[in-house]
Symmetry: C2
Subunit: 129 residues, 2 copies
C-alpha cells in the first residue's frame, strides 16, 4: 500500500511517516517503480505502536528504545518498566509545575474584580513578587 493508506490505517500522517524514516526511527520503506513508498500490514502495525507511544507522550528517542525492546525476545520487562517509569516521573513533574502555576493563577483570577476599573491584583502580582 502507498503512504496515504498506511497513514489512514495507522493514524500517523504521511508527513510524520516520512519524517520518522528520515530520522531513522523507521527503516527506509521499499519503493515502487515510480519511487513511491510501499508499506505492509506489518509496517502499519509498527506505525500504530509508535503512534500510541507518542500519544502517551514518549519522545522519539525513548520510542527508539521501546521499538528495540519490542522486537527483542530476550528483553526484560524491567527494562521496559524502567523506561515507562522514568517517563511517568517526567510527566508527574510537569503536572506538578503546571499545578503550581494554575494555583497561583486561579487565586489571582478570583481576586480580580473583572470590571471597568483598572485596579487588578494580577498586574500587581506581576509587578511586585
Amino acid at each position: 500500500m502507498n503512504i496515504g493508506q498506511a497513514a489512514r490505517l495507522s493514524g500517523v500522517s504521511s508527513k510524520r511517516i516520512r519524517h520518522y524514516e528520515s530520522i531513522g526511527l523507521l527503516q527506509p520503506a521499499r519503493r515502487t517503480g515510480a519511487n513511491y513508498r510501499s508499506y505492509s500490514e506489518r509496517d502499519v502495525h509498527v506505525l500504530r505502536f509508535i503512534n500510541r507511544a507518542r500519544e502517551l507522550g514518549f519522545g522519539i528517542d525513548p520510542i527508539r528504545e521501546l521499538l528495540s525492546l519490542w522486537s527483542n525476545r530476550r528483553r526484560s520487562s524491567a527494562a521496559v518498566r524502567s523506561l515507562a517509569a522514568r517517563h511517568l516521573e517526567d510527566i508527574d513533574g510537569r503536572i506538578a509545575g503546571l499545578e503550581e502555576v494554575a494555583k497561583t493563577l486561579r487565586t489571582l483570577v478570583k481576586q480580580c474584580q473583572g470590571d471597568d476599573r483598572p485596579d487588578c491584583p494580577i498586574l500587581g502580582a506581576l509587578e511586585h513578587p
Copy 2:
C-alpha cells in the same frame, strides 16, 4: 547599566533580553558610544514583570498584551482577568491531558512485573489499543 547587570537584577538572561528586543517585546535599548545596550531601573522593572509573566507560563504574545494593559491607565481589570482566565483554561487543559496520560502510564507500570522475563503489559498496550 549594561545588559549583564540588567540580566542579574531582573532574572532575565542577556540572551533573552536581546531576543525580546529583537522580536519587539521590548523597545530597542539606548546605546553607549561603544554600542553597548544601556538600561535603567525602569527597564529592569519591566524585565522583572516579563519574567514573572513567563514564570506563570504566559506566552510572548499574551505578555505583549499584559504590558500594554499594564501601561494603560484606562485599562479595565476585566481585560486583564480575561487574559489570565484564558491562560488558566489552557493550563488546566494541559494538566488534564497529562493527568490522563499519567493515569494510563501509572496503571501499566503497576501491572508490569519488572523482572527478567520479557512479558510486559506496557508493550502489550502499545501494540494493541
